[in-house]
Amino acid sequence: MPISSISVTSPPDSLSDQIVTALEIRDVNHTYRKPALRGVSFLVGPGEFVLLLGLNGAGKTTLFSLIAGLLELQQGAIRVLGHELPHGRSAALAGCGFVFQQSALDLDLTVAQSLRYHGALHGLSRGRVGERIEQELERFGLVSRMNDLVRTLSGGQRRRVEIARALLHRPRLLLLDEATVGLDMPSRRAILQRVRTQCLEDGSAALWATHLQDEVEPGDRTIVLHEGRILDDRRDIAAASLPDYFARLAASETVA
């Protein structure tokens, strides 16, 4: 991103109300030493919940990093909430909430301090942040842990804090990269359900990346990504239609 292209004096939350797509990915290619993404294209509509299903190494995290502007776009186009990357990066990020595969919490801060830090980064006033912290922690059943250090929380609680944090500035697009990784089944279900409800209640769109086929529910729109390519993109994807590697993965998880 050219340094001179964005001014800190321009409010970064000027989102258009006329957004046709929450996320538009067009013919995106990305290469490290070998190709990580090859001709990836899809759209996510406003308020839509979409699963991005792919094994480890499929290119999900690379795609998320490109959407987040953490990586330079090499080829193709990405439009987030009507803002073309990389020039519209700041305005796009103002409307996005991220949950990363790797935990991104500061263990030496309390839950409230972590959330306040995020609110400040998004320019929210102290009063408003305080209100929203209570609301979000209430939703996630973590109010009683508000003043505890993050390092004292369980893995599931930390994940819930990260999702609460992603929702704090009321994003229009949620991007969750393996948000339930390492959690037990009840915690996974609860978090997934919370995000689905969020989409219904607030009308925010969500792209949920996972390698776990059992997170797909009937009626979900599912994009299957494998070795950097989109293999399938439709609703009501049946287990039988998934390629062999997913069947093998499901079988190995059942055995485990």
Partner: protein
């Protein structure tokens, strides 16, 4: 600057202070290190090293008085490395992503992060100056005020170098080596412990290295400011080094080079 951008800055500063307060040992380490130099090294060398007619003192000066600005520089140098370490740590732990996906340009976020690091360093410097006062090193009272802009600029320069280093160091494990490689040569090959004239009497090469070392200029800026004087050459070199290091650091963070390596490795 808008209210939103100021809130972002305030949030980054607040986080730095919260982390600093949880790491009390860091505060004591930052004090003990220069105090050991002042009390032991300074006392030991006082009788051997006679300093006279050195600007800005203008008269014979005790060795402890001479090294105090250098030891202030040492605090700021360690603080700059602390900024670098904290950036590498945040990158490894993933929390840097929270900063980088906030809706501001990278140069603004990195500048806020740098300034937060400098603001955290100032109480450490003044605590050391208070201890030095108790030890008998007593610059004029106005010097404690006039030195503040010099402390900020020197802190920004060393912090910017730290930010640049953080963009070059790939893993946390490598950082200890890098710190030793940077801190000790930079500190010893400078005017922190001995004046340039004295260095020139024994080694012209070392004197030239010290003269070219930007840390020497940061120390001289602080030294003169502590006595209410401005050393213009030091000011210019410190400012230019700050701008150059910051521009390079922003360029490296802005181009996504650092995270690309992490993702490619995974």
């Amino acid at each position: 600057m808008t209210a939103r951008s100021l809130r972002c800055f305030a949030g980054i500063v607040e986080r730095e202070f919260q982390r600093f307060l949880r790491q009390r040992s860091r505060f004591f380490a930052s004090l003990v290190r220069p105090l050991v130099w002042l009390v032991i090294f300074g006392t030991g060398l006082r009788s051997m090293v006679g300093l006279s007619d050195i600007p800005p003192y203008g008269t014979a000066v005790a060795y402890e008085d001479y090294i105090v600005p250098g030891l202030v520089g040492l605090i700021l140098l360690f603080n700059g490395m602390q900024i670098a370490l904290s950036m590498v740590f945040d990158r490894e732990m993933g929390s840097m992503k929270v900063l980088l996906v906030s809706p501001w340009p990278r140069w603004y976020l990195l500048t806020c992060r740098l300034m937060a690091g400098v603001i955290v360093a100032l109480p450490q410097v003044y605590a050391f100056l208070a201890c030095a006062w108790l030890w008998g090193v007593r610059p004029p009272v106005y010097g404690y005020f006039s030195v503040l802009p010099a402390l900020i600029l020197a802190g920004l320069m060393l912090g910017a170098v730290g930010l640049l280093l953080s963009s070059l160091v790939e893993q946390l494990e490598n950082f200890a080596g890098v710190m030793n490689f940077v801190i000790f040569p930079v500190f010893f090959a400078s005017t922190a412990l001995y004046p340039l004239q004295r260095l020139g009497e024994t080694s012209a090469v070392l004197a030239e290295v010290a003269r070219l070392n930007p840390f020497s200029h940061a120390v001289e800026l602080v030294r003169f400011a502590l006595y209410g004087r401005l050393e213009a050459g030091a000011l210019v070199i410190t400012a230019l080094t700050t701008i150059a290091a910051m521009a390079l650091a922003v360029w490296r963070y802005d181009s996504g080079r650092i995270l690309r390596r992490h993702l490619a490795a995974s």
